[in-house]
Amino acid sequence: MEELLRISELKLNFNTEEGLVEALDGVNLSIKKGFFNGLIGETGCGKSITGLSILKLLDNNAIIEKGEILYNNKNLLGFSEKRMQKEIRGNEIAMIFQDAGSSLNPVFTVQKQLEEAVKMYRKASKKEYREIVIEELKKVSLPDVESLLKKYPHQLSGGMKQRVMIAMMLACKPALLIADEPTTALDVSVQAQFIQVLKNLKERFNMTFLYITHDLAVVNEICDFVSVMYAGRIVEDVSVRELFKNPLHPYTIKLVNSVLTAETRIEDLEEIPGSVPRLINPPKGCRFHPRCDEAMEICQEKIPELIEVNNNHFVACHNRLRGDDFGQ
């Protein structure tokens, strides 16, 4: 499998009045070319920040302590702002932001915003732009495309804004698309159609995706590989099938088991015990140890490394180092 992008040992802090927020603590992530790479994990664990680091679109108070982001063997962290803008953003790597609605410009119509996006990668006549834009909007199953073009973002429903944003990014045909919770505002039927559109794009243009989501059902439908993040570190790297059949990290196991189904009753809803870790003075050693049933002494001191325990199945847990005592 070819790697399109690789993040190694990325450490990123935020400077705040309350102290240093240690948001990413040595993230290792491999994005495989031509596949859907999922990124899942607790809210606030650093998924969006990871995506934003790739495009270097971080807040001013962010400090990258160390690490590398290799794309086609070039370290993006060494790129100047100008070079990122010229060579990377949009045409090579694009991102659908989590707050899709807010990232549309409120004073421009849908048509204007989409045309601007298309202009970034293609030269065409005014009439052609319009046609390309209509084509892109139809792909994301929006009704009444013609009248939609003249609308402003506030005149659209949540799911419509999200789809306009998606259309805009797809129009760029980037080699890598980072999609941050792209379907949260879509109902299940539109979502199913949308997933189909992405799959077709992948086939036709050999596009690669980094797909950030909380929805494990969607992960199951679309992803090939999944990285699980906990408090700023990748704790498990696994194929989608093994994620559900044979999760190994204690956090992943709990996550997969807490999925809500139609049979769940409100009385038996169960959350992962313990509290979401602070990122200012986070727990030492394994950041999951205060909530882990299997924690040992070493877990409080030493950071477990991400190690391949099965074929292409990586786990960062002190209790999974021996090859004998897990699953199967």
């Binding site: 809210t43 009704p143 789809r163 299940v188 979502q191 139609a262």
Partner: protein, 315 residues
């Protein structure tokens, strides 16, 4: 649980557009019962948010009545409306846009407490806010942050905290947990359930997550293109959906089971526009059972033996 808290009668909200009125909410009738959780599901753009905002008087309905405490709240004055804002809480679909970018989390949460005189002193306010944050899995360090310094799920929980803080009678929640992982989502659902018991709260809950709606709501309404097409007890509708749209919708629910992937797209065809709505039944162009009568006559909501109501000529 049987008295009605709110009655929505013949509610319409048409938006103006150059090519004609957008019928976002088109003649909706429903009751929200005291102490229940009422869930709304339906396709993106079908009018759920518009319905919610119209009931809340955040947008002015085109016509219809909303009866609360025996009066039509579409007609009340500004002062009364302010009282209503405390009684009826609202959690917006877009947490980012609903938070003031220049206010810290603490300011966002303490303002309504002051306005509605919920807490008496600064200490009171701090204690209340810190307790609420902890219950939601947030920490004190988040208090001095601005919205752009928070993750999506952190912002979303601030929106929920703001609504819960002032002890309303009913909370309208528009996709309130869409940015949360399953564990934190569970935490919030439990918190909402506890608040419901403790304060006798009522919820009006919009979500695309049909399994979640199934778990939390007593009754649901299924919306399609501005209209309610099926409404009734959750268990009854879930176990045996009747309207062809509801059936298609439920079959599209994705599963977290690697041996069961969705093979087929059940709801095909173009979503019709709310400007040129089809004659007769709105759904007929996408429906496998459409017959002549569906072209000519608009089906009305009809009560079946099990108590649910369906708007479809098959029944």
């Amino acid at each position: 649980m049987d008295s009605n808290l709110i009655e929505v009668k013949n509610l319409k909200k048409y938006y103006n557009s150059r090519i004609g009125p957008v019928k976002a909410v088109d003649n909706v009738n429903l009751e929200i019962k005291k102490g229940e959780t009422f869930g709304i599901v339906g396709e993106s753009g079908c009018g759920k948010t518009t319905l919610m905002k119209s009931i809340l008087q955040l947008i002015k309905p085109t016509s219809g009545e909303i009866i609360f405490e025996e009066i039509d709240i579409c007609q009340i004055d500004k002062k009364e409306l302010r009282r209503l804002r405390k009684i009826m809480g609202f959690v917006s679909q877009d947490p980012h846009a609903s938070l003031n970018p220049r206010m810290t989390v603490f300011d966002t949460l303490s303002r309504p407490l002051k306005i509605h005189k919920i807490t008496r002193s600064k200490e009171d306010t701090i204690i209340k806010i810190v307790t609420l944050l902890k219950e939601m899995g947030l920490q004190t360090e988040h208090l001095i942050r601005f919205p752009h310094e928070l993750s999506g799920g952190q912002k979303q929980r601030i929106g929920i905290a703001r609504a819960l803080a002032v002890h309303p009678e009913i909370i309208f929640l528009d996709e309130p947990t869409s940015a949360l992982d399953v564990s934190v989502q569970t935490k919030i659902l439990k918190l909402l359930e506890k608040a419901k018991k403790d304060f006798d709260l009522t919820y009006f809950y919009i979500s695309h997550n049909i399994n979640l709606i199934k778990v939390i709501s007593d009754r649901i309404g299924v919306m399609y293109l501005g209209k309610i097409v099926e409404i009734g007890r959750t268990d009854i509708i879930y176990n045996n959906p009747k309207h062809p749209y509801t059936k298609g919708l439920f079959k599209s629910i994705p599963n977290p089971d690697p041996d069961k992937k969705i093979e087929k797209i059940y709801l095909k065809g173009e979503v019709p526009s709310p400007v040129n709505t089809p004659t007769g039944c709105n759904f007929r162009r996408r429906c496998d059972h459409a017959s002549k009568i569906c072209e000519e006559e608009e089906p009305e909501l009809k009560k079946l033996d099990d108590g649910r109501e369906v708007a479809c000529h098959l029944y």
